[in-house]
Symmetry: C2
Subunit: 202 residues, 2 copies
């Protein structure tokens, strides 16, 4: 599809940066990712929508050697080396107590905190879904910063939760290595499903 006939208005360059050329990497240039970069990513992707603006994603940047060791201990074997070596690793988690922040997030609905999200079970379901949306936005944001993301779900989730969220109020959804891409992508580009296999019309 040539650019002139595409229904997309996003520039081809941006399409490539965020989706088409972007790839999952496990190896990175040995150069730190400063907090200012992570903040710029956050300040961009924070605007993407969540239900009732609940914004349940929480991010732990694992910077010190000691913290990295604590995390690596819970990663699956095939994720240990790359997590040890990445310039920066982020634990992306859902906050099950997100409702405490709702009075400032939805000031026009002061009843939301208690009426909609008074139940921990309901909060867990809602936070898990909405924080997962935000994990998607965050991965796009990492790419918007010209960095490569290496998202992983191969770990002992209970172990990470106990180690990093001992209060029981959060759960890990993904662990993401990030940095400037180096070498080859983690995998060759894998096939995707055809449009007709994914989208139906009724």
């Amino acid at each position: 599809m040539s650019p002139s006939t595409s229904p997309l208005v996003l520039s081809a360059e941006a399409q490539d940066l965020l989706f088409r050329s972007a790839r999952t990497f496990s190896t990175f240039v040995d150069e730190p990712v400063p907090d200012s970069t992570v903040q710029a990513i956050y300040e961009l992707v924070k605007y993407a929508p969540t239900s009732f603006n609940q914004s349940p994603l929480r991010v732990v940047l694992v910077r010190t050697r000691a913290s990295r060791r604590r995390l690596v201990a819970h990663m699956m074997e095939n994720n240990k080396a790359k997590t040890s070596a990445a310039p920066l690793t982020a634990i992306l988690a859902a906050d099950f107590e997100f409702h405490e922040e709702l009075p400032r997030l939805v000031p026009h609905m002061p009843e939301a905190k208690e009426v909609l999200f008074g139940s921990r079970t309901d909060r867990e379901a809602s936070a898990s879904f909405n924080a997962a949306l935000q994990v998607g936005y965050f991965i796009i944001g990492i790419r918007a910063a010209g960095l490569a993301a290496g998202p992983m779900t191969g770990y002992d989730a209970d172990g990470i939760d106990k180690e990093f969220f001992p209060d029981g109020d959060r759960t890990v959804l993904a662990v993401v290595n990030l940095g400037i891409a180096s070498g080859d992508p983690a995998f060759p580009r894998l096939p995707r499903l055809e449009y007709a296999d994914v989208v139906s019309t009724i």
Copy 2:
């Protein structure tokens, strides 16, 4: 932050289109959203990553009047009128039987289908998380097409599942109205959490 000092490499125009200026809308111009636009969105966002490339998102485009009525019956009261009037409404669902497609999605791991995802319980958890990531990507893709999205989670999920996925193999994650934005956004821009409230460093 001026463009020249921003750590982001994505153009300011694209940042605005996808995140900063983009808003949730409930009212749209009375102009259809053709399948070709939805396909262009899919062909872009299909490249964004999921665990093991499992790609569990499935999309049902609700086009006919009869189908729209079947859906609106299960929407919460405050979502009925806007869902009835939107140019196009999409049901975004997670496929719990996504493992059937794995042989073509991860051809280098022929054992993945049975060894990793032989358990329905494990598939439900994995599909719910990964399809939620893809809902996030899809919302960004709608905006990349210059359209506005109106994502909703206010509905009777069991009712939608029984009505549209009677085989029990899928579950609705979000219902999204889409079209060319008209009038004002659904809400004034709501506050977001501060960086320091969301991101910590250890």
